[in-house]
């Protein structure tokens, strides 16, 4: 998905993990995924640049779909679809 497609997604669960370092954003993602409906999109906002790779690997292992990420001013938005 390109940036405009990602930004146009209907986000079911948004997590603002900005300002927390590793492993904060992962712990918040793990905690929040339960509140996201299966098939719904979750957006994780993080100022930790490691989050993109971490979430990608996490999605692959946990069976979710990593959709992509968008760089914002000082943070990144990472998008995924909850599959299980």
């Amino acid at each position: 998905m390109n940036e405009s497609e990602l930004k146009a997604l209907n986000v079911a669960k948004l997590i603002d993990a900005r300002g927390t370092a590793c492993p904060g954003p992962m712990l918040e993602a793990k905690r929040a995924i339960g509140d996201c409906p299966v098939g719904g999109v979750m957006e994780v906002q993080s100022s930790d640049s490691g989050t993109m790779v971490d979430i990608q690997r996490w999605c692959k292992k946990m069976g979710h779909d990593y959709l992509g990420d968008v760089a914002n001013d000082g943070f990144w938005s990472v998008y995924l679809t909850r599959k299980v």
């Binding site: 370092a21 590793c22 492993p23 712990l27 996490w58 292992k61």
Partner: protein, 167 residues
């Protein structure tokens, strides 16, 4: 024909035996197979490694892994609650680098321990280390999953874990 019938019976007996043998072997493999579990042996008494051990433990919980941390020797003393300790022994070795944890949004060791407790990370402390480090159980942090054990428990945990670390 009788000869064919006999041969079929032998085949079917052989198949039954083969199936039994295979089931037995599969059961043994399942019993021995590592689980989605991580065991971290923590020996270091320095702040950096202790924090790192908790960060790795917490990372594993996000993958739904069961996590056991086994504290031994100097590391055992890192689990003392400063508020409960009256003697001043074996302090954590400070890092030679002065980290600005707060400035970078990083968690303190206390925060990490708190999160580990909430995330179901189990802690085992080596009994011998308790004695060698002259630690009293009453001096330790309040932690929901804290037990005491020996080397056999560590080996058993490692045996059933997909990943084992020692730091």
């Amino acid at each position: 024909m009788p000869t064919t019938g006999k041969a079929n019976m032998n085949d079917s007996q052989n198949n039954d035996q083969l199936l039994k043998d295979l089931l037995k072997r599969v059961e043994a493999l399942e019993r021995e197979a590592p689980k989605n579990q991580l065991t971290i042996g923590v020996m270091s008494g320095d702040l950096e490694r202790t924090m790192l051990a908790f960060i790795i433990a917490l990372g594993a919980t996000t993958f739904d892994m069961e996590v056991d941390m086994v504290f031994t020797l100097r590391a055992s003393a890192t689990l003392r609650d400063p508020k409960k300790v009256h003697k001043d022994l074996h302090e954590l070795e400070p890092s030679p680098i002065k980290f600005d944890l707060e400035g970078h949004g990083a968690m303190s060791l206390n925060d990490l321990i708190q999160l580990a407790a909430e995330s179901g990370v189990r802690i085992t402390i080596c009994n011998l280390s308790m004695d060698l480090m002259e630690l009293e159980r009453e001096e330790l942090i309040d932690y929901p999953n804290l037990t005491f054990a020996g080397v056999a428990a560590f080996i058993d945990l490692c045996g059933q874990s997909r990943q084992c670390w020692f730091m």
